[in-house]
Symmetry: C2
Subunit: 275 residues, 2 copies
């Protein structure tokens, strides 16, 4: 079994030193609690609601920053995935680092930018990775990426046994009794791909922006196994080997049953046909 | 506004004459109640749980069968979409007819076959249609097709303003308080594509198979507007013009934000990478 632990922090905007300390403490706490995979929120090092590009730039870090050395040292035997505000050359990216105690395993730069992120960040040029780790094959997305079913599908087709997503979900209205809409989308992606999905949201209010506190771990059947709510963490044990088979019942296999000859439109078209 | 009415029948296995009468009555009732679009279940003419191919063949009909003339006559100003067991040459298909009072507008043959349907039916060779109708541009899927997010995406990219799906959902376990899993998948598809989805399930128990009675109409925000439960129908009014824009908020558009260069895998691969 693999213990997946989403640590629902409240990063403070531009407070790099404070966020550094908070994120290391969160990893340490998760590892003490037996985590095999620790997920931190999107932009955990910087906060989200930047007032200007200068402000984003002032908090941006490269992968050489000591925070990653400290995440490594806190990781123990766990894999850590956390969002950070990345500077590379002159560009800023909304990125996620994947690391273990041996060092950085991968950096993924968000490819689908939300809201006015477009004013600060360059969209990533590379597809999301599926990273072989001692905990299993981990695919990584960031927040709004999840709302493109092609992205979760592509990771699952590439053999991801767990998809993790650092997110910052702005609170939106929803009908009474419903999950947050982003969770509904993740549930459907998990079930249609037979792959568990762990989303680490954030808490707190930032410059008037309320967050959903929607951190959750969803199993390969698409059901929410644990939600953080207003707690510090959503943690549960998953059998990741279950994501290796796509069979359901006697007659079906959700991958073998695909008809890719009908899916070309999805890869070719960006716009609906004119009416 | 467009009134979409899913009529949750209980077809009886192999009882073509009885199912003929029941389906005409359902259309008449929906049209009397002001429906602009009437949806009937999958295999509404034949029932679902065939004991043998011979039994399926004995209930199969061509598009020349008088039932379609009667559906036309009952249609009034509405569009009717209903599932039927189709015979064409020597092949059997799990099909949906789309018609109005002027005649047949399209026939779609299910492309993703569920369970032991593979023992009786040939999978469709053509992608699902988007049909211009007086009620709007209607895309059609059948049951298990919905569980392939590429299918709902392809219809939305082709300008569908409403997706309708005749279904027969076998009842499966789900956690307390959750929607049926097929509904969760349809909710996510509706929201990620900004297109409403109407699913017409069936009721009754057939040869020991219990059905979900999950008929529902989901709006373009992904929320269930009405569910049939054990009632005869799930009907609500939708503004289908809302599906014409894919904008959300000030900065985003769920279609323009797509990055198809990363989606090739989805159209090319049928199998996950070997571990």
């Amino acid at each position: 079994m693999t213990r997946v632990d989403c640590r629902q922090l409240a990063p403070r905007i531009t407070d790099l030193a404070g966020n550094h300390a908070r994120s290391v403490r969160a990893i340490t706490d998760a590892v003490s609690a037996g985590a095999d995979v620790v997920v931190l929120p999107e932009l955990a090092t910087s906060g989200y609601v930047f007032a200007s590009e200068d402000e984003a730039r002032g908090t941006a870090i490269t992968t050489e920053h000591p925070i990653f050395r400290d995440w490594q040292q806190a990781a123990g035997h766990a894999i850590v995935v956390g969002g950070f505000c990345e500077r590379a050359g002159n560009a800023l990216y909304n990125s996620a680092a994947v690391l273990d105690r041996s060092g950085l395993l991968a950096v993924y730069r968000k490819t689908h930018l939300w809201g006015n992120e477009k004013a600060f960040f360059t969209p990533g040029h590379e597809p999301p990775p599926v990273i072989p780790t001692r905990a299993g094959r981990i695919g990584v997305l960031i927040c709004y990426d999840l709302e493109f079913p092609e992205m979760t599908r592509a990771l699952a087709l590439q053999g991801a046994e767990l998809i993790v997503a650092p997110v910052n979900w702005p609170l939106v209205d929803r009908p009474l009794g419903e999950h947050p809409p982003e969770v509904v989308i993740a549930m459907a992606a998990a079930r249609t791909n037979r792959v568990p999905i762990a989303c680490c949201d954030r808490t707190g209010t930032e410059r008037g922006q309320e967050w959903t506190e929607g951190s959750c771990v969803i199993d390969e059947s698409g059901w929410v196994r644990v939600e953080a709510g207003d707690a510090a963490s959503a943690s549960t044990d998953l059998d990741l080997t279950r994501a290796r088979t796509k069979r359901i019942g006697e007659h079906n296999d959700v991958f073998a049953d695909r008809r890719p000859e009908f899916y070309r439109t999805v890869a070719d078209k960006t716009r609906p046909a004119q009416r």
